[in-house]
Amino acid sequence: MSAVATNSTSRSLMERLEPYLAIIGPMVMILAILLFMGVAEPARYFRLSNLNLILLDAALYMPMAMAMTFVITQRGIDLSIGSIAALSGILMAFLIKQYGFPAYVAVPLALVLGALMGLINGLIITRFKVPDLIGTLAMDLVYRGLALVIAKGLVLARFPEMVTEIGRGQIPGFIPVPVVIGLLTMALGYMVLKQTHFGRYTIAIGSSPEASEMTGVAVDRHKVYAYVLMGACAALAGVMLTGKLNAIQATSAPYFNLHVIAAVVVGGTSLFGGRPSMVGSLAGVLLLSMMINALVTLRIEFFWQSVASGVVIVSSVALYTWIQKKDRDGALGLLASLRSKEAQRMFRFSAALLGALILLLAIGAGLAVDPTPSG
C-alpha cells in the first residue's frame, strides 16, 4: 500500500471521484467535441444522418473493445485483432463465394475460426511463455500473411443479404443492425464481467497473478479464454466490416488493434491490470468515432486522423496515470520538479538534439542546389 502523505482534502475528493473517473474522463472529452463542433460546424455535424454514420463506425469496434477490456484487465494485450478480422472475413468470403456455403453457416464459421486464432494466441502466450506483446505482434504478421496468401490481390464483393444486414442493415425507425449487435455485445460483456467466474477471475488475475494462482484460480486457462473471446469478437468485426462495405480484401482492417486499444484505454481501463471499465470502453469507442467523424466533417485531410488518434491515446493515458498517482506533490509539484538537476540535464540533452537538427537543416539549406525531379 502506498504512503498516505497526501493532503487530505484533495485526497478525499479524488477518492470520491475515483470510481466514476472511467466514465467522467471520456464523457468530458465527448462533451468537449460536442461543444467544439457545436461552434465550428453545427449544421453538418448534428444532422441525424451524421449521427447514424458515427454510430455505424463505432458499432464496428464495440465487440472488439468489449473483448479487449477483458484482455487488458488481465494485463494482456492483443495486437493481432486487425489481421484476425481480415483473415476471418476472407475465409468467410471464400466459403460463400467459392464453395457456396450458405451465409447462416459461413458467418458462425467465421466466428469459430476467429476464436481458434485467439486460442492459438492464448496458447502461444501461456504455454510457450512468449510475451503477449511479441506473441500477438508476430501472429498479426502470420494472420495477415495468410490472408494475403489466400486472397492474393482479390477483392471479394457482393455477399448474401444476411452478411450485408449484419454490416449495414437498418431497423426501420430505429438504429442500424450493427449498432444493435455492438451494444448487445457490450451489455453481454458487462454482465460477464460482473456476474461470472470468468469476469471475476479476469480482475483477480490482472490485480495479482500470484494471489490468483495461490487461491486456486486457473490463471492460464482464463487467460486463454480472454484471447479466444478476443479472437471471436475480432472475427465478428471482420464479418461486420465485410457486410458494411459488401467487400473484403486481405489488407482490410488495418490499425484495428491500436484503435481498439486506444478506445479501451481512453475509457479508463487500466493498462496495469485489475481495473476494467466496460462503460468506459463503450464511451471510448464513441469518443474515437466522434473525433474521426469531426475531422472528416471539418474537411481535414484523412491522414491527420492517425495523428489525432495518437495524440488522444497519449494524452488520456498520461492523464489517467497522473490522476491515479497516489502520492502527488502539492500544486507546485510540476514546476518544482522542472527545477531539479535531473530535469535540467534532460532539458540540455533535448536542446542539444534540437540544435543538431537545426544545424543540419542550416547546412543542408546552405549547400542546397537545384533539385532534380526524381522520375
Binding site: 500500500m1 460482473k194 456476474q195 461470472t196 467466474h197 469476469g199 471475476r200 480482475i203 483477480a204 490482472g206 490485480s207 495479482s208 500470484e210 494471489a211 490468483s212 495461490m214 487461491t215 486456486g216 484460480v217 485489475g274 481495473r275
Partner: protein, 254 residues
C-alpha cells in the same frame, strides 16, 4: 486441549538438491491451541509449513491428521483435509472487494435458466457475517476495493477466507504481524485468540517473540533445519527461547 495431537509430523526430512533444509523434524499441534514456530532465517520454518500445507512434499517422514496418515500432492489436497494457510502476502487481489476476495476460487453461484452466475449479494452478506461472527471485524463498507483497507482488515479478510470452510481444522499463519503497526498487531493477535477459542489448531510463524509469548501456548524452536526444543510459554521466558534460537548453551532448559 486434548491429549492426542490433531496434527503430527514425524521424522520430516526435506532435501533440495544437495541442501538439507529439514532434518528429522517432529511437530505436534493440538486442537484449541496456538503453536508458534520460531527460528532464525534459514532455520526451516517456511519449508516445514509448506510441507504441512501440501505445497512441498517431504523427502522422508510422515504426516498424521487425527492419527490417520496424510498423503498430500498439492495445496488443494491440504485444503480438502482441513489444513489451510494465510500467507504473509495474504494472497489478496487488491482490486476486488473483500467479499470477492474471500470467495476467490470458491465463488457462490446461483443458476438462472440453467446458467451459473455469481451470487454477489449472497457472497457479500456471507462475507460480512463471517467477518463479524468469527473474527469480530466490521468493515465500514463491503463495496470498497481491498487495497483501501487497513493492514489488520486485510488480514481479517485473508483469515476469513480460510475459516469460511466449515471443516477447517488447522490454520497456518506465516508472519501475520510482520508488516503491521502496534495497533493492528494487537487486533491480529485478538483474531488468533478468537480462532483458538473456536477449537482450531493455529500454527503461527513469527519473528516477534513478544507476539509469540502474547498469543502462543507452546513454542517450537527450529535451528539449522532441526527442532531444537519445544517449550510451553507459561513455563518459559523470552530469554530461554532466544537461547534456543541462537544455539547458546542452555542453562536450565530442556
Amino acid at each position: 486441549m486434548t491429549d492426542h495431537p490433531l496434527v503430527q509430523m514425524r521424522g520430516i526430512t526435506k532435501r533440495f538438491g544437495g541442501v538439507t533444509a529439514l532434518q528429522d523434524v517432529n511437530l505436534e499441534a493440538y486442537a484449541g491451541e496456538v503453536l508458534a514456530i520460531v527460528g532464525d532465517n534459514g532455520a526451516g520454518k517456511s519449508t516445514l509449513i509448506k510441507i504441512l500445507t501440501g505445497v512441498y512434499q517431504p523427502s522422508e517422514g510422515e504426516i498424521f491428521l487425527d492419527g490417520q496418515p496424510l498423503e498430500m500432492a498439492s495445496h488443494s489436497d491440504a485444503i480438502a483435509q482441513g489444513i489451510d494457510a494465510v500467507y504473509q502476502t495474504l494472497a489478496l487481489a487488491d482490486h476486488l472487494t473483500p467479499a470477492a476476495n474471500m470467495f476467490l476460487g470458491t465463488e457462490l453461484t446461483r443458476k438462472v435458466a440453467g446458467i451459473e452466475f455469481l451470487d454477489n449479494r449472497r457472497m457479500k452478506s456471507e462475507a460480512a457475517r463471517v467477518l463479524d461472527e468469527r473474527l469480530g471485524v466490521r468493515l465500514r463498507s463491503m463495496d470498497v476495493t481491498t487495497d483501501s483497507l487497513s493492514g489488520g482488515q486485510r488480514q481479517a479478510v485473508a483469515i476469513a477466507r480460510a475459516v469460511y470452510h466449515e471443516d477447517l481444522r488447522v490454520l497456518v499463519m506465516d508472519e501475520p504481524t510482520a508488516a503491521l503497526g502496534p495497533q493492528e498487531t494487537a487486533r491480529t493477535l485478538k483474531l488468533i485468540k478468537a480462532l483458538r477459542e473456536q477449537g482450531l489448531a493455529v500454527i503461527l510463524i513469527s519473528h516477534s517473540l513478544d507476539d509469540v509469548f502474547e498469543v502462543a501456548d507452546r513454542v517450537h524452536v527450529q535451528r539449522r533445519g532441526r527442532r531444537v526444543g519445544v517449550v510451553e510459554t507459561a513455563n518459559s521466558t523470552v530469554q530461554e527461547v532466544l537461547g534456543l534460537i541462537v544455539g547458546a548453551p542452555a542453562n536450565d532448559a530442556a
